[in-house]
Each structure stands twice: as C-alpha cells, then as structure tokens.
Symmetry: D3
Subunit: 294 residues, 6 copies
C-alpha cells in the first residue's frame, strides 16, 4: 500500500531520526534489559539464598550454588558493563580489547563487594521487620516487601555507579521503579538500616545523602527545589541539590522535601507537607490542622 511505502521512506530518512537513533559501536550492542534482569535475579539469589533463585539450597550445597551463581553473574556483568562503557564512549576512540579488560576488572571488583552488600541489606531487612507491626517474620519481608526489592536494586546499582559504570545503574533502579513505584537514583548515598513503608511514589534524588536508621513512607519526595542554568539556559549537571537526612529521621507519607537542606538527626516530618528549609535535629513538623466545610 502506498501509505505504508511512504511511511517507510519518511521514517528511514536519516534527518528524521537524528538524536532518536542509537548508532552502536561495531559489535557492541546496547545494554540488554533482559540480561540486566538476570543480573539482578542472580544478585538477589546470592544475597538471599533460598528466597530467590534455587529454593532447595542448604548448608551442604551452599558453596556449589553460590559458586555457580557468582560465575554466571561475573560473565553477565562483564558483557553488560562492556556494553555500558561502549555506550558512553560511542563516538570516541578506545578499542574493544581495552573496554573488555576494563569490564572484567570492574565486574570482579563488584563481585568482591557482595559480602559487604549482604551485611548492609541484612540491616535493611531488620529495619523493615521492626518497623512494621504487620510483618510476620523476616521471610515475609524478604519475599514480599517492595522496599527490599527497591533497596536491593539501589545498592547493586550504587556499587556499579561508584565503580564508574555508565547507564546500567540507572536502568537497574528504573527496573525497581517500575516494579515497586519506588524511584531511588543510583547516585544517592544511603546508610544502613534503611526502610521504606509501602513505598509507591517515593522519589530519592541523585545527590541525596541519607544517614542510618532512616524511615520513609509512601509518596515521600526528596527532590531538588530549583537548579541553576548555564549560559545556554540548560540546567548545570551534577550540582548538589537534594536534601540531607541525618540518622534516625522519619518522613511520613506524601511529604515533599526539596533542595539542599538538612533534616537533622532524629527529626520527624509529617505527611502531606512541603519542606524547603532546614529542620533542626529532633524536631517534629506537621501539617496545620485544617477543617473547612465546603
């Protein structure tokens, strides 16, 4: 049909897809969503053995399973990290060989960080269990709680970002965002015993710094208030612009905290409010009581 032929022709004109088309480096595919899902599944299986991955693992067979999963994780990571590195330098020069070597180095470093990541996630599980009267046991928390999925992905992605891997960390946190409605930028810094209740709608921005024992409820935003523009009117990238939450802070549902302000140690921010100034340690701020008749 003419209409189809015309559409094909227009859509194939180079000018029509400028900026919307990925010109990949020779032999270097884009990071693959499917393989990144496998990476996350393997990491979960290693970090929480028996709850994710093979459910029949036991003390006798633990080494076999961890061994196979770590090896497979390593190979998948090498491939995806290489794809991420290639994406970033897509116009420039460095050879495939050196990308591959770098990817191997970074993947091994990541694997070496897994034991520490498990220790931190254990504190997150503990915090979720202690903070929710509806939680029946650790198992239920690990199996069911969206916060554990979102925080696991964040901690995996954050390690990769710290190692300098491009693009992939963000894809991994967006996978959790889609699954749980919790949007944690991989660049954020978050302490131990962190928990989020229910979680849908939570946003944690790129330059947030969150201490230990912090708890957020659903719909909480830790965002930027505004951002300086450069001479071309574009936002300047990479400026610290999100809140700092010190240890033991609690933020109730749908509260919005904006800008590079500090919520002091032990402060409590009530629900549905809009906070753009520092909150001193230990203080509690809440929405003014308002009851109107229409």
């Amino acid at each position: 049909m003419q209409i189809l032929t015309d559409a094909v022709e227009q859509l194939s004109e180079a000018s029509s897809y400028t900026g919307l088309c990925h010109h990949h480096r020779q032999g270097q595919p884009l990071p693959s969503a499917g393989q990144l899902e496998q990476i996350v599944d393997l990491a979960r299986a290693i970090l929480f053995p028996g709850y994710f991955g093979n459910s029949s693992v036991n003390a006798q067979t633990m080494t076999y399973h961890i061994g196979v999963d770590v090896e497979r994780l390593y190979h998948l990571l090498v491939e995806q990290i290489q794809a991420g590195l290639a994406f970033d330098v897509s116009e420039e020069g460095s050879g495939v060989e050196s990308l591959c070597e770098e990817a191997r180095r970074l993947a091994a470093l990541f694997i070496g960080r897994l034991p520490e990541m498990r220790r931190t996630l254990a504190t997150d599980v503990e915090a979720a269990y202690n903070g929710d009267p509806a939680a029946k046991n650790y198992g239920e928390v690990i199996c069911c709680y969206p916060a554990i999925r979102a925080i696991s992905n964040y901690r995996i992605a954050h390690e990769l970002l710290v190692l300098g891997v491009p693009l992939i960390p963000r894809i991994i946190t967006e996978m959790a965002h889609s699954e749980t409605g919790i949007d944690i930028h991989p660049g954020a810094t978050i302490g131990h015993h962190f928990t989020i209740d229910h979680g849908t709608g939570v946003v944690i921005g790129e330059t947030c710094i969150i201490g230990n024992n912090v708890k957020l409820y659903q719909g909480v935003t830790l965002g930027a208030k505004s951002f300086p523009l450069d001479e071309n009117g574009n936002p300047i990238k990479g400026i610290a612009r999100h809140p700092i939450l010190e240890d033991d802070v609690i933020v109730y549902s749908n509260a919005t905290i904006l800008g590079r302000i500090t919520i002091g140690k032990g402060a409590v921010v009530g629900g549905n409010i809009w906070v753009t100034e520092n909150v001193p340690a230990g203080e509690r701020i809440v929405q003014m009581k308002v009851k109107d008749r229409d």
Copy 2:
C-alpha cells in the same frame, strides 16, 4: 580469579547468611511466584469468563471451561497452600501428610467461596462504572481498570487469609501492588460496591474496616499513626491501628487518614490532607485554601 573465589567463600559461610537464607523443610519448596500468578489468572478466568482466560467461551461450553479451570485451580492451590503452611511451621514438627491433607481441605473451602466472590466483585465493577464518566461500558472496566485487578487480588487473598493460609495472601496482594500501585493488605475488611479511581499510591492497612459503597482516589493512605512498642522496643503485632470507613464514604486523592479513627457514614475527605481524628457522618473536610507568592 582470586577475587571471585574469595567472594564465593565468604558468601557461603553460614554466619554470613543467618536470617537471610530460607532453610526449607525437606521436599517443601517455597511458594512460587509463577504458580501464584497462574492461580490469580485462573481465578480471574473463572470469575470473569471471556474477559480473562479463554476468550471464546460461550453458554454451551461454559461448564467445560469452568470445570477445567476449577480443577486446575484446585491442584495449584493445594500445592501452594501446602508450601505456605510448610513455610510457617518451618522449624516445628507436623508431618508432610497432614500438611497436604490440610491444604486439600483449605483449597476446597476456597473454591466453595468463589460464587460469593463473584457476586461481590460484580458490585465492584458496577461501582467503578457508575463512578467514572470516562467508563464506556462494563467490559472496558473489567479489561482495563487497575482497581478491578487490585480488588480481585485483594478479595482472593482475603479469603485465603481468613482460612488461615500464611504468606500467600500477602504475595498475592503485592503482585497487584506491583501491577497497579494499589497496596491493599489482605487483612483489611472491605464491603461491597468498593471502588478506587486511578489508584496509584493507595495504601490500605492491615486492620482497616471499610463499609459498603466506599470510593477512594489515587494516593489515599489509610494508615497507622503510631504503634505501641513492647518491652524490647519492637512494635506489638496485630493491634487494631488503622481507620474505619463507614458506608458511602469518599476520600479524594492523596489524602492521608491515620490511626484507629472513624470516618462516619457518607463523610467526604478532601484531597491532600492529613486526618488523624474522627470525622462525623456526613461531614466534608478539605484543605484550607492557600495561595502564596514565593
């Protein structure tokens, strides 16, 4: 590589995964997310024939399809309920045989409740259709509306929870939470003609009691205000701590209602507000109008 070998060794040490590893009972796998999805799909196919499952079902072949689906649902339920029961008693004694027998009993009781569940869900569909000027017909509501998916999963999960099945009800409601952003705890009690508009971000807590003809909008929280701690500083489990919404209540978007308070019959709660005290029947409360210039 040495770094991998070391990681495997550390991650396989028993002390490193205490509390994070599931020690399953001999021959008793964990509940399976994949099979629970099949259970929900089958239940939807039975409750809304033609919309879910085989779309060519008709009056002549209805019995065949319901018959096959009910049989398959029964077998899957027996398996998953048994896994749930085994999870709960994972340290203690009762034999596989008795778990299996109990699972059969509970699965049959659940199946016996399906006709009543369909009657209730019919009222939910009616409420969604009547409450939304954008709804074109019942079919669109059943096919497309996330509320129907979330409420179906809740009603299925609630029946299982009432029968005493552990873990599985929560997994089923979390599946809907992930799919729709609507988080209904299976322990909540909810009347007929219940509807939720749009729904993302809705949270309904474990001990909520919701009457008939209640309507919620997106982002509404029915949560706990605070909870008493036991002598060890841990929250006491199972205390009534969520709101009671009587018949005909409407709660607008992003409102937060906290604690064991009662929103009286026919009351209307406006959007973006924070309610921690009883609202009398018939009353309307809204956010104070505020317009500031920066």
Copy 3:
C-alpha cells in the same frame, strides 16, 4: 469432590455471570494484551530505532528494518483494531468483512501518522533532557525514563482514539500506567515538549487540554472536581471536566488540580496543594508554610 462439583455448577449458571462474561462475536476474539504489547514494542522500535527493537540497525540497513517493522505493525494493528471494533458493536449488526475493511483503513491511517508522532516525541525527549540535571544524554532519557514510555504510549493511543478505535487506546495507556505509575487518559490533548519528572502517581484526565512546554512532577493529579448526574443518578459521560494547562506551565509534585479550570500560560503550581480555581498566567501558588509541634 462434591464442593468442587457444586462450585462448577453454580459458576456455570448463566444468571451468575451476567454482565461479567464477554459474549464474543463469532470468530472475533477480544483484543489481546500480548499482541498490543507487541504493537507498542514495534512502534517504539520504529520511532526510536536502535534503542528499542534490533539494536544493530544502522544507516545502511535502516530501510530494511523500518520496512519489516512497519509491515508487521500493520498486520497486528489490523487484527487488534478489528477486535476493538467488534467489541464495541458486539450486540449489533455489521458484518465481519466490513469490520475488516475498516480495520485495514484505520491501520494504514495510523501508520501514515508515525512520522509526525516521531517529530513530536523528539521534542518530548529534548524537554526531558533539558529539564533534568541528572540526565546524562539523550540515550539515557530514551532508554530509562518512564516518562518517555508513558508519553509514547499516550501518543500512540491518542492517535488511535482520534481515529475512532474503541477500547484499545485505553488498554495501551493502562499498560504504561502499570509499567510507570503514570496514568494518562488517551482522550487528553497534549502539546509538544511535554515532560513528567519521576512520574509515579501522575493522573491526567480524559478531557484535559495541555499546551506546549508543560512539565509535571510525580504525584500530580489533573482531575475532575465533580460531575453532573443524569436523571438516574449516573454520571453524564463525556462532559469537559478536567483542567486546561496553557503553555509553559509547571506543576510540582503531588499537587492536585481539579475541575474545568485554566492554569494560565507560564503559571507555576507548588507541590502538595489542592487547586480548584483558575490560576492567572505567570502566577506562582504554593502551600502555606506550616510548622507545628505535636
């Protein structure tokens, strides 16, 4: 078992599934969620070549890939549009042949609109990149940002709705709603350079009119305040009841804007507030500052 047999019998009685069962037209299946997902995937592959679909596409092979994808998209669309048309007229008369012919006509018209849709989506990508200091490059925006997925689905669905295709547009936007937590009704009208930051919990109602260069944050509702009922107490369908946002408007997180009001050109609506009256062009409205001690 008797309990199963009884359940099958009750659930197969015609009276028990009235209104909940789809009686399909002979040989006309319901629209298929699986095929609609393929349609969206193909449209994304055509609109953003290399980022979605085959990642090795290049200038030499672009025509081949666009050609194959357009042809396959056309065939899938014909099938699904036909299913949508059949759904709508399910009781009435028109023959299969004429439905099929109409489906072919509409599918071709849709394909003919793809070049224009790509031009508009290019502005949305630009807006997302410029509006987010965390965005590293266009590629990251196209690959990772939920807003791009939600807006793509909306723009696809809106074209289909404008062409008069029933049911399918809503299924397509609900797919994005489930994936991203962003709920845009396909009936809304939205200009170019539109962006949504983070996005979870955003609701854009059926009769919204949104200008160019508009930016929304997560949790924003553009909803209806109330709707007139007909003589039977049911809402009257199709009345303009959602806000109009003129060019260059910004709405911050969790703000709720309700009713057929107008937010004037360049106005800024602060977070967590409830707006039910017109906002003049250029004005900034924010939540009153409230700090209480408990």
Copy 4:
C-alpha cells in the same frame, strides 16, 4: 558491506525466486507447523485421555477436559483447514468467506469421526501389546511406542485427506516421519489391528491398501516399482502403484515390496528381500541362505 548489499539485491529480484516463493492470498497465512503440532497434541489428548494432555483427568472431570479440548481442536482445525484450502486455490477465485464456511464444515465432520478413530486406535494398541514380548502393559505401549505415534498421525491425516483437505495431511504424517522414522503417506488405506515394530525406515506409499491384523518390522518399504510417464516425460500422478497387503500379513525387517502386487492373506515376507511379484495367501518367502568367505 558491499557483499551483503549485493546479495540482498540479487536475492530480492523476482526472477531469482520464481517457484521457490509462496505468494499467499491476502490475509491467508500458510498452514502453521506449530499449530498443526498443537492439533496433533490435542487429538492425542482426546483419544488417549490421561496419557497425553492433562494427566490428572478422571471419570468425574472427563467431560470438562474432553469438552475444552474438542472446542480448542475445532478452532485450530478451522484455521488450519482454511489455510490449507487457501494454499490449494492460491491463484484462483473463491472468496475468504466461503473458504471459512467450508473449513468449519470440514472441521466439524472431522471431530464427528473422533469416536470411531479411537475405536480403531484401540485395536492398534492391542496389536502392538500382543505382538511384542517386551511390552509390559498398554500404558507403556501408548506412552513409548513410536508406532502408536506414527499410526495416530496417519489416522488423523487420513481422515483429513478423505475429507478433501489439501497439504495438511502430508505435513501431519511428515511430523510423525521426523519423530519416528516411519513414513506413512496419508493416502494409504490401512485396516484395524495394525502394528509396526521398532519402525525406523518404514515407508508406506500413497496407494497402498493394507488389511487387518497386519504387522510390519523396521525398514520395510511398500513402494512403487516404476511409474508411467506422460507425453512430457513427467510421472502421471495418482495411479495405483503400491502393494496390496491382505489380512494377517507379516513383513520382516528391511524387506522391500514394490509395485501393484498383492501379498495374500496370512503370507509372511522375510527380511532383507526384494519382492516385485504377487505372493500367494499363506506363503512364506525368505532370503536365500548365503555364506561366503571374502
């Protein structure tokens, strides 16, 4: 690369694929191997309930399963028979509507023949069991014996061929040929209590007529000796050219019987011989004993 571009160009020239390319009728796909496999699987599940398809079927649920399987078989058959009819008339005129109507008529007639087919296959199972000292029970014969698979496919295909369905019967017997190494042309006529031991390499030609209680061993050929050519030197299609085997004949392994000859009732043909003349009823023919030293 130039070499690829050139290859694409040459391979796309119409003259290069004359006779090797299928020009399908508008909207009429080729028969699908995948769907024909499903058809065979469904037919096996209906004919041998519990052995194929759902293994938990029992007397209480038999009607449900048969009902669902028959309905699905009917729909798949309509689609594939229509594809087969369209293939045959691919150049000529008759409309899609009439093809579809004809396909429905033929599919229903085929379904109506299933009870008779089951009765005949029961005799084949009995013959296989009685004829093999290694057979432990009927179940093993039905589950494992390639002869049962090949004969089932043949009996299904033969019914379709008798109904006048083009192409599909041959695809179905070739599926069994690939699976079992037994090549039975769907045009052959075969009585009850038919069995084949081991079976690899058996060939039964298009115009064979085989009586009741016949047994063949592996490697037996019932073929054509030669065939008359037409004036263009091409073989004349459809002439009776394969052997007739009367009741109670046994043919041992690797025997070759060629031409329109008759092997009389109760005759026995020894292995590894070449038979091109009639064998009287009751006779036994064998290879001459030959022992040579090299």
Copy 5:
C-alpha cells in the same frame, strides 16, 4: 454445534476409553517427558562437562557446576522415579510415603553409579573416534555423533532398569530413538568400547548381550526370530530371544541377525544379509554376489 456436543458426549463415556485412559494414583502424575529430557541433559552435562550444559566450566569451577547439577539431577530423578513406581503399582496398595522413600534410595544409587558410567562412555567415545576416518577429534565425536547420544541414553536407562525403575528407562531410550533413529532396548547388556556408525535404523533387542569392542553400522537389526506363545496365544514375556555378540564383532549396514544365536568373537557380518544361525568366532559372512539384468 450439535456435532461437537455429540462427539464430546461419546468421547466422555467411560466404556469408550477403557484401556486407553490413564487412571493416575491420587497426586501421582505420569512420568513427564519434559522432565526426563532435563534429566538426560543434566546427566550429559555431568558426564561430558563443557560439551553439554554450561560451556564455560573449567577446573576452578568444576566442583560448583557438578555440585549444582548433581543436586538438581537428584531432585528430578526422585520425582520421576516416584512417578514411574506409582505407574507400575497403579492398582495396588503401597503408600505414597514409601514410594517416595524408595525413589530417594534409587536416585541416590543411580547418582553413585555416574563415575563408572563416565568411565565406560569414555571408551565409547574412543571407539567412535578410532573407528571413523572422518572424525576430526574427540570434541566433534561428543558434540555431533548420534551414536554417542544414543549410547549415553542407553547407559543411563540401563542403570535405571537394573535398579528396578519401571517405564522410565524405555521412555529415555525412545527419546534417543526419535533423535537418532537408533533403537536400543534398555534391557540389553552392552560392553565397553561400543560404537555404532551413522546409526539410523539400528535395533538392539531387549535380551541382547553384546561384548566389548563391538561395532555396528546403520540399519543393523539384532532381533528376535519368533517367540513362544502361552496357552492364550499371547507371546510369553521375558524369554531370552535376541542374539549374543561376543567381543570384537563387526556387523555391516542393514544386516539382520535374529534369534538367540551367538556371533563368535571377532566375527564379521556383511551388510544386507539375514543371519539366523550361529557364526563361529573369527568367521566373515557376506551376501552372495548377484548381478542380474532385468
């Protein structure tokens, strides 16, 4: 349609499926072809590491892979052996518990035999390589040669049969029969350094005894000549009725050796001949040279 309804009714009548329907024991499914394929794949991966299963296995990770594969093989075997045992006693009494215990015992015994099986298969690979001038290396033999697949399945199946597992051994050899055209009954006894060239059409009967260093070519039958009938005219099961091939025998293509005869050590049987009497050690028998003009 009436014709479908009638067919369903007839096909659901108990009398119509007597002997053709599997009445499974409560909760005991039939052996699953899909799971048996996994069992064979796992066994191949354990026996030939790197060629089957995970191809990146190396000396460092060998233990992990073998460990995981052995554990999974054990669990699948327990399930399938239990299904096989239940099939065999389907009318009689023994409880599920005892079947399960027996299945565990047999599965462990089978696993314990794997090292010996690998040693024997190594001799088969060696024999195939040495016997074929076309073989380039051991790797090609292991990857490509159908004989290795058929002999592997036979050796697995034979071990299971020796352990007393019903039905499953035959299914496993029939899987190889379908894949390779080589039909080895699991009951046969076969020595080391066994090889089959090309293989299609080879049949090795239930009571064959084959020595070491034996080589068969394609189309060879080692079958039964006739078998005694019992008083009802049915063949008596289990009588030794197939040939004995002593060490170092070679049988060329399409030869047929029938009955409980002995082919003596080092004898050579030429192609396309029919042997029903003993062949002395060291003798060579061939087809008489025959050249006729038609």
Copy 6:
C-alpha cells in the same frame, strides 16, 4: 547425603574427565546448537521466501525481509564461525581479534554464495517434484519433503566446509540427520537436480562424488569398504574411500554401495543389494530372485 557428596567429588577430579571435558578458550563459547538452528532457519527463509520465515512476504516487501534476514544471518554466522575457529585452535595461539576478523570475512563470503545456492536448490525441488507421482505441487515439496530439508542443510554446510569452517558444517548436517534420518557428510560433493525419496536411513560418506540428476531411495548407503590403518592401528584420516556416482544414476532402497568404486552414468542399482565393484554406465543390477520355504 554422603553418596551425592562422594559422587560430586569423584566427578570433579580432573583425571576423571580427561578428554571428555571441553576447555574453552577464554571468552570463546562452543558453537551453540540453538544459534545454528536459527542460522538454518534464516537461510531457509532467504532461500525459499514465504515458505519458511515470515509467510506474508510479497514482491513489495521482499527487499525489506531479505535485508533484515541477511543482516541477522551475517551476525549469527560471525559469532558461530568464530566459535568454530576457536574450537579448532583451542590449544594454540592466534588472538581473539584475528579470529573475529576471519569470521567476518568467511561469513560475508558465505552470504555472497546464497544466490548460487538458491539456483541449485531450485533444481533439487524440481527433481523431487518430477520424480514423485505423489507430489501435488512445488509448495508441497518445499514444505513437507524431508529430502529438501536434508539437502538444504547439506548445501549450507558444504559451503561452510569449503570455506574452511571447522565443526559447524558437521553439526548442521547432523541436525538434518536427526530431523530426517538422512545422513549426508558435509564433505561430499553433489551436483544439481539431486533428490532422495523418503530418505530415512540414507548415508552419504565424506568423500563421495555425486553427479547431476542422481536419485537415491531410502536406506541407501554410500559408504567406505575398509580403510587403511596407520602404524598405530588407527585409521588414516582423509583418504578417498567412498563411491563416485556419475550423472543420472538411480539407487533403489536399502542398497549398499561401498568403497572408491564408480557407478557409471545412467546406471541403476536395485534395492537391498551390496555393491563393492564398479558398475558400468547404463547397466542395471538387481538382487537375485530368491524364494525359499522355511
């Protein structure tokens, strides 16, 4: 269990898997059966458009489809050829880069040969149609005839072998062997208008030379009679040892032709015979007629 642990230990000892384990080169997986199947499917789709691959291809869209398929075939071939090259040199030196470059070169050369391969296969289809009175049309031959599948795989594999690709050609012909029972070594040389009727059991050895217009029936072996051994008693690889069939030869079913003999132009070899000496051009040889009573 101890028995499992012991088995794992024994099976992981390096000495136990010498020669049976593939030590792959770093980062170089084995050729993948799954990807080789895709390669064959793509080649079939390119060679016989509309019959294999996308069935809706037509003259307008032919270039798109061929273009996409050729590109994908090229990428898969590069990967698999590289794997094949790496397999062959697994102990030696050449770098990954040079293997990859060589793989690209060979894949492009292969693609460049596709038009010629299509021309030859067209003659094979013609020969199959003309030679079989049961063939209804070219379409049936292309869709159903195992010979076409086996010969296609052979012609693909032969091109790869001629280009010097190791291992992969044999895997590709063994795939056809498994599917059809026809075993053609990729090293054989075969002219145009080649056909095989029925085909199960056919064996064509590595050094065969087959002219034009040759026809074989099922069970025919073109094999080696014997092969000289080297000083270690191993067969000397690569010696010409299989028959030469000149143009217009016909060989009937189950005939066995062995050794480096020549069957002269137009000769006819009857079924079930054993030929080890030259047959002059135009001669017909058949089995002596033998009829014995037992």
